[in-house]
C-alpha cells in the first residue's frame, strides 16, 4: 500500500517536473471535476446583466487521494468551436501556455471536494460568442493538474451564448453628430465667407 502510494506521489512529482520543462498540456489533465452551469443549452445571456451560477464537486468515481495536490480551482469562460472558426486568436492548442480557448476568468476559489457554488454576473467586456465553462484545478505551484467542464469532450453539448453590450451610448452618438456638424459648417462657412470677400473686392 505504502509502495503504491509513494510511487504514485513520485510519478506526480516527476510529471510536475516534466510539466514545468515543457508547459502543461491539456491532454495530460484528468477530468476529475464535475461542473454544472445554470445556462441551458442554447440560452442567450446578456452582457452586464445576466448571471451564471456554477456548482462543482469532485467526481467520486476516482480513487481517494486523487485530490491530494489540489489547491485552488480557476473557472474560465471558454469559446466553443463555432466561435473559434476563422479566428486564430481563439485557437485551441494542447500546450496550455499557448492555448487561447479560454480567455475570460470567472472566479478563482480554494479547492473543496463538494458543496461549491458561485454566481457571476457576465462582465461587460465579454464578446458575443458561443461558450462553455471550464474549471482548471491548480496545485500549490499554480500549475494545472486537472479540469472539469460543462460540455462534452467534443465541445458539442450544453453550449450557451452570450450577447455583448454594443459599447454604443446615446451621449456618444449625440457628440458625434455635433462635432461632425461643426466640421461641415466651418468648411462651408469659410468657403462662402471667402467668396463674399472676393466678390466685394471685385466689385470695388
Amino acid at each position: 500500500m505504502m509502495a503504491i502510494r509513494s510511487s504514485f506521489v513520485a510519478s506526480i512529482v516527476l510529471s510536475c517536473l516534466v510539466a514545468t520543462c515543457y508547459g502543461v498540456t491539456f491532454s495530460s489533465l484528468q477530468r476529475t471535476l464535475v461542473v454544472t452551469a445554470s445556462p441551458q443549452q442554447g440560452q442567450v445571456l446578456k452582457g452586464g446583466e445576466d448571471t451564471i451560477t456554477l456548482t462543482w464537486s469532485l467526481n467520486t468515481t476516482f480513487p481517494t487521494g486523487t485530490d491530494s495536490t489540489y489547491h485552488t480551482v480557476k473557472f474560465m469562460l471558454c469559446y466553443a468551436p463555432f466561435s473559434q472558426k476563422d479566428r486564430a486568436w481563439r485557437r485551441t492548442e494542447d500546450n496550455l501556455e499557448k492555448d487561447k480557448t479560454c480567455q475570460h476568468k470567472i472566479v478563482t476559489m480554494p479547492y473543496a471536494s463538494s458543496n461549491n457554488n458561485f454566481t457571476w454576473t457576465v462582465q461587460k467586456d465579454v464578446p458575443t460568442a458561443t461558450y462553455f465553462v471550464r474549471g482548471y484545478v491548480l496545485n500549490s505551484h499554480d500549475e494545472e493538474v486537472a479540469y472539469g467542464q460543462t460540455t462534452d469532450s467534443n465541445k458539442v453539448n450544453n453550449l450557451f451564448q452570450i450577447e455583448s453590450i454594443s459599447g454604443r451610448h446615446v451621449s456618444l452618438d449625440i457628440a458625434s453628430v455635433c462635432f461632425s456638424a461643426f466640421s461641415v459648417v466651418s468648411l462651408f462657412g469659410f468657403f462662402f465667407l471667402e467668396k463674399r470677400k472676393a466678390q466685394a473686392s471685385a466689385a470695388k
Partner: protein, 516 residues
C-alpha cells in the same frame, strides 16, 4: 526681418540673387524658396510646408487608427479573420480613387482647398465610428476614412509649388516622411488613448470608440488652420491670382491628356506600388506577424510595428536628400540611379525578413527594409516634379494612387491566402519588388538622359522644349506656357555639374532673363 535659428538648412550653390523684400527665404524666379528652414513658420513657404505635412500626418493617424485596436474591435463587433483583412485592404483602396481626384483638384483650385476640404469632411466619418456595430459598418467606415490619404497629393503638390527644384527631393522627402510617420505614431497613440479612457471608467467596448474622437478633433483643427493660415502659391491664393491674370486657368481635359499620354506616369504608377504599396501593406500585417511568428506579447509586437512606421521620420527625407545630392553631380541620371538602388535594396531586405527565423535578425532586416522602401518613396518624389509642369497634380495623384493600388494588390495576393505563410508572403513580396523596380531604367528625359543613356549633347532637346511640348501653338500664342518656361529654366540644375557650362547658354527663341 527677425533672424530665425535654422538647424536644418539646405541651399544650392548659385550666385545669390537679391532677396525679394516680400519673402523670408531666398527665392528663385518663380518665387519658390531655395532653402528649407525647418524651425520657421514664416509665410508663405515654411508655413505652407508645416501645414502640408501636418495635415497629411493627421490623415495617416486616422486611416491606421484601427490597426492597433483590432484585438478589442474584433471582440466588440464579432469579426472574423477575413472581415479584418478585408477592412485592411479597404482602408488603403479608397484613396486610389481619391488621390486621382485630389490631383485634379490641386491643378484646378489649388492645394489649400483640396487639403482643407478633405480634412473637414473626413472628421464626420471618423466620428461616425460611434455608430458602428457590425463588420460591414466597420469596413465602410475604414474605407471612407481611407479616402483622406489623398492629402498626400495635396501635400506634395503644395511643397512642389513652394520650393525650388534643386531641393525638392529633400523637401518632398521630409514632408512625405513626416506625414507617413503618422502610421507609426498611431500604433502607439491609439492604445495609449484607449488605456487612459478605460482607466477613467469607460468599458472597453466603449473606450475604443471614444479614442477615435481624438483623430477626429485633429482633423477639424488642422482643416481650419489650413483655411485660415494657408496660401496656395508663393504670391498668393490660386483664385486671387487667377482673377488677377497672374496664373492661367487650365482645362481639365488637357491636363488629364498630358498626364495620361506621358509613359513615365505609368512607370511611376507601377514603381510606387512597390515602395509605398509595400509600406502600406506592412503597416497592416507586421504587428500580427511578429506576434504570431515569435510569440511576442501584443504590446511588444505593436512597438515593433510602430518602429517600422516611425523610421519614416528620417528614412524618407534621406531618400529625397540622397536624390538631391546625386542630382548636384549627376543630374537627373543620379536621381534615377538612387531610386533604383534604394528600392532594390528594400526588396532584398524584405526577402531577408521573410527568411529570418530568429527575432534579432528579423528586427534588423525589418529596419533595413523599412529604410530602403521609405527612402525609395522619398527618391520617387524627387523625380515626380520634373515629369510634367502642366499636369503636376494629376501625375502626383496617379503615382500616389499607384502606391495604394499596389498596396491593396500585394495584401490581396500575398497576405490574404492560407496557401502560404506570412513569412513566405514577405519573401515573395520582396522578390516581386526587386523585379518591378527594373522599369526605372526605362525612364528617359531627352534633355537629361536615363540610367544607361546620356542626355542630348548638342542642345537638340532642352528643358524648354520638353516642358513647352505640353502646350500647342494656339496656347503658346496666348502665352499660357510662360509658367512652364520659368520652371524649365529653374530645372536646368538637373543636368548635373558636368553639363553646367552648356546650360549657361539660353537656347535661342526663349527670351527669359537668367538672373535678376
Amino acid at each position: 526681418m527677425a533672424d530665425h535659428i535654422s538647424t536644418f538648412s539646405i541651399s544650392h550653390n548659385e550666385p545669390t540673387q537679391t532677396n525679394n523684400y516680400k519673402f523670408d527665404l531666398p527665392v528663385d524666379s518663380e518665387h519658390k524658396a531655395k532653402t528649407l528652414k525647418i524651425l520657421s513658420f514664416a509665410q508663405p513657404h515654411m508655413r505652407s510646408f508645416h501645414l502640408a505635412w501636418i495635415s497629411f500626418f493627421t490623415c495617416f493617424i486616422s486611416t491606421f487608427a484601427a490597426a492597433p485596436l483590432v484585438p478589442i474591435i474584433r471582440d466588440t463587433l464579432d469579426l472574423t479573420r477575413s472581415d479584418i483583412g478585408n477592412a485592411g485592404v479597404a482602408s488603403v483602396s479608397g484613396s486610389i480613387f481619391s488621390r486621382l481626384v485630389m490631383g485634379v483638384i490641386c491643378d484646378l483650385v489649388g492645394p489649400r482647398y483640396g487639403c482643407a476640404v478633405l480634412n473637414l469632411l473626413t472628421a464626420p466619418v471618423v466620428f461616425s465610428i460611434a455608430f458602428v456595430s457590425s463588420a460591414e459598418g466597420y469596413l465602410v467606415v475604414r474605407f471612407m476614412i481611407g479616402f483622406s490619404l489623398a492629402t498626400f497629393v495635396s501635400c506634395q503638390y503644395w511643397t512642389s509649388i513652394m520650393f525650388n527644384s534643386s531641393i525638392i527631393g529633400t523637401v518632398n522627402g521630409v514632408a512625405g516622411g513626416w506625414g507617413d510617420m503618422g502610421g507609426g505614431v498611431t500604433q502607439l497613440l491609439m492604445p495609449f488613448l484607449f488605456h487612459i479612457i478605460k482607466v477613467s471608467g469607460a468599458t472597453p467596448f466603449t473606450a475604443w470608440r471614444i479614442a477615435f474622437f481624438i483623430p477626429g478633433f485633429l482633423h477639424i483643427i488642422i482643416g481650419v488652420m489650413v483655411l485660415t493660415m494657408g496660401q496656395d502659391m508663393p504670391d498668393g491664393n490660386l483664385s486671387a491670382l487667377q482673377k488677377k491674370g497672374d496664373v492661367a486657368k487650365d482645362k481639365f481635359s488637357k491636363v488629364l491628356k498630358h498626364a495620361v499620354t506621358n509613359y513615365r506616369t505609368w512607370v511611376f504608377f507601377l514603381l510606387y506600388g512597390f515602395s509605398m504599396g509595400v509600406e502600406l501593406c506592412i503597416n497592416n500585417v507586421i504587428a500580427e506577424y511578429f506576434y504570431d511568428r515569435f510569440n511576442l506579447k501584443l504590446h511588444t509586437a505593436g512597438i515593433i510595428a510602430a518602429t517600422f512606421g516611425m523610421a519614416n521620420f528620417f528614412a524618407r527625407p534621406l531618400g529625397g536628400y540622397a536624390s538631391d545630392i546625386a542630382a548636384r553631380k549627376f543630374g537627373m541620371r543620379g536621381r534615377l540611379w538612387i531610386l533604383w538602388i534604394v528600392q532594390t535594396l528594400g526588396g532584398v531586405f524584405c526577402i531577408w525578413l521573410g527568411r529570418a527565423s530568429t527575432l534579432p535578425i528579423a528586427i534588423t532586416s525589418m529596419i533595413l527594409f523599412s529604410i530602403g522602401a521609405q527612402a525609395a518613396c522619398g527618391a520617387t518624389y524627387g523625380i515626380i516634379p520634373f515629369v510634367s509642369r502642366r499636369s503636376l497634380g494629376i501625375i502626383s495623384g496617379l503615382t500616389g494612387a499607384g502606391g495604394n493600388f499596389g498596396g491593396g494588390l500585394i495584401q490581396l495576393i500575398f497576405f490574404s491566402t492560407t496557401k502560404f505563410s506570412t513569412a513566405t508572403g514577405l519573401t515573395y513580396m520582396g522578390i516581386m519588388a526587386v523585379a518591378c523596380t527594373i522599369p526605372v531604367a526605362f525612364i528617359h528625359f531627352p534633355q537629361w538622359g536615363s540610367m544607361f543613356i546620356p542626355g542630348s549633347k548638342n542642345g537638340k532637346y532642352t528643358e524648354e522644349s520638353y516642358y513647352s511640348s505640353e502646350w500647342n501653338e494656339e496656347e503658346k500664342e496666348k502665352g499660357l506656357h510662360h509658367g512652364s518656361l520659368k520652371f524649365a529654366e529653374n530645372s536646368r540644375s538637373e543636368r548635373g555639374k558636368r553639363q553646367e557650362i552648356e546650360s549657361a547658354v539660353t537656347p535661342p527663341g526663349y527670351a527669359t532673363p537668367e538672373h535678376v
